[in-house]
Symmetry: C2
Subunit: 339 residues, 2 copies
Amino acid sequence: MLEDRRLAVLRAIVEDYVSTHEPVGSKALVERHHLGVSPATIRNDMAALEDEGYIAQPHTSAGRVPTDRGYRLFVDRLSGVKPLSSPERRAISEFLDSSVDLDDVMVRTVRLLAQITKQVALVQYPSLSRSNVRHIELIALSTTRLIMVLITDSGRVEQRTIECLGPITEVALGDVRARLLVAVSGQPFSSIPEILSAFSGQFPAEMQPLVTIIQATLLEAVTERIDERVVLGGTAHLARYGEAFPLSIQPVLEALEEQVVLLRLLGEASTNNMVTVRIGHENPVEGMESTSVVTARYGIANSAAASLGVIGPTHMDYAGNIAAVQAVAQYVGRILDEQ
Amino acid sequence: MLEDRRLAVLRAIVEDYVSTHEPVGSKALVERHHLGVSPATIRNDMAALEDEGYIAQPHTSAGRVPTDRGYRLFVDRLSGVKPLSSPERRAISEFLDSSVDLDDVMVRTVRLLAQITKQVALVQYPSLSRSNVRHIELIALSTTRLIMVLITDSGRVEQRTIECLGPITEVALGDVRARLLVAVSGQPFSSIPEILSAFSGQFPAEMQPLVTIIQATLLEAVTERIDERVVLGGTAHLARYGEAFPLSIQPVLEALEEQVVLLRLLGEASTNNMVTVRIGHENPVEGMESTSVVTARYGIANSAAASLGVIGPTHMDYAGNIAAVQAVAQYVGRILDEQ
DNA sequence: ACTAGCACTCCGGACTTGTGAGTGCTAACA
DNA sequence: TGTTAGCACTCACAAGTCCGGAGTGCTAGT
């Protein structure tokens, strides 16, 4: 009962602060939310909440502001998930129709997400490591150079140029290509290293240099290249907070330029299919202490999976953003499945 | 003589303003630059320069600030080209060595440019329309789907998925592939439409659907896809100007999210090989009135060409940026030639 | 357990003032 | 005629002062 009201107060504080961006006081609170008690009572609750570390005052005689811990409690226990509005659903389905290409899907998704959340959006390309090989092609460009094209069942196309020491014969290349195709086609990336380990044995000695370098390149493509690409959009939304907040955007912009950092932000998402929220200092990245990250994994029928999400100030609309991220993740998974 | 000094004054004003970012007054001017005259004389010159529209004062009794027109005169007649420092040259050549991939070159270039100019950098992918076809590949993914991979001599790889109505036979596809390869291999993109116009005639009627759709896809790839990709880097540098300037970064960030806008900014570069500078209002893009754009074309031995450049506030270090853009453009051209 | 009242704190806006950088003008000078 | 010195004038900006109001914590009363 008493506990209940305290939580209600916390929720009210978070909601008000998110919408007004100003410290919220006891009086304003009772006026805006019809809690049936007087400001004085609220003040007692606030004092208790402050003791427990859920809220704080920027300075004496100012209203209260939620702390990271307060937001945490809010998203864990208090925030419902706002259903998306119908224009939003419409936008998603419109975007759904006209995708032609994996790149296209990624770009459209990131735009969509940025647009409906009004935040910075991130979308990771489907992970190669959980993909299967759909096709592999070796194409001679000159007598010493060839290009390897790798196509996954998630629609991704990887290419690598290979420089050979000796000249390549048309016949040898065709031979390698044919056998390689048989060996790896349809196989998951994770099993490629094993397959390759016994591969070169079937070729005569004079072809070994060629086979070896091709093999090495392929191996590199499926393993070392676990560093994935992330597309980014909606950075302009950062400027909205510009001066108004401790969130000085410089470090954030810098962080967003590093692929590695983006991956860290997206990475280590929840094990299950739910949305993950990292609030303020919970973020593993320096310079992002006053931002929150909302992420979700999107899966392509278990064959490949990656993450997407949004980044915004800690005082974001968690309910709305969680709903948006979740919905978009579902849609994207579905689209990629269809392809 | 008198004219000469006035120009010297303008140059001094621009240089001081660029380094301090504060309106510069007559007294400070004579102290910092050893013009052999008194402040009063300078004031007369300044008044003249103001009448001609080269400088302006933000408010009475403030120093003078160059106008767009002032900058224009400065870059056209007054600014020497700063040679790059040796660490800069070293950075460029280090970057030069370790490029493996077209994508890699683009990413590295944009980073490099952003780093040495401390501005936002843009690099356009080599234009397809001036490229030659190095190889074309058709790969069946299923009985009704195939993927077309197009490799240009600038190292770019384009892929397209093609959905056929009827089932594809291995033989038919091989036939089309072989003839297509012969027909277009080594040809410039610009001549592909002509080549294709007579292409389908050589196939029997039952193969027409297949040939037609492949042909259409290829045609689309070489023509409609003149919309080029642009990579972007160094946006964090924008934040440096953050509040300090009329350059509110929101519209700029927004503009930078649109590929089309980026192309407009890069586009219409100078006819010759020199660097182009667009100052403030000279920019064709709304919201970029207080930014300048420095661009140059980089060519790959006449076969393909595109632009790169930097974007910064009008009070940028023109001499330095022009030198950097020019140097980087040369290096990139050279690297892509080698590949 | 809640509320009313009260004294206290302190941020932030408004207002004032003073200072200094900068200007334009005029008159003297080479 | 071009340059300089001197001077009165303007005005942004910083510092200082003041005051109101929002908000708090505490205590006593319901």
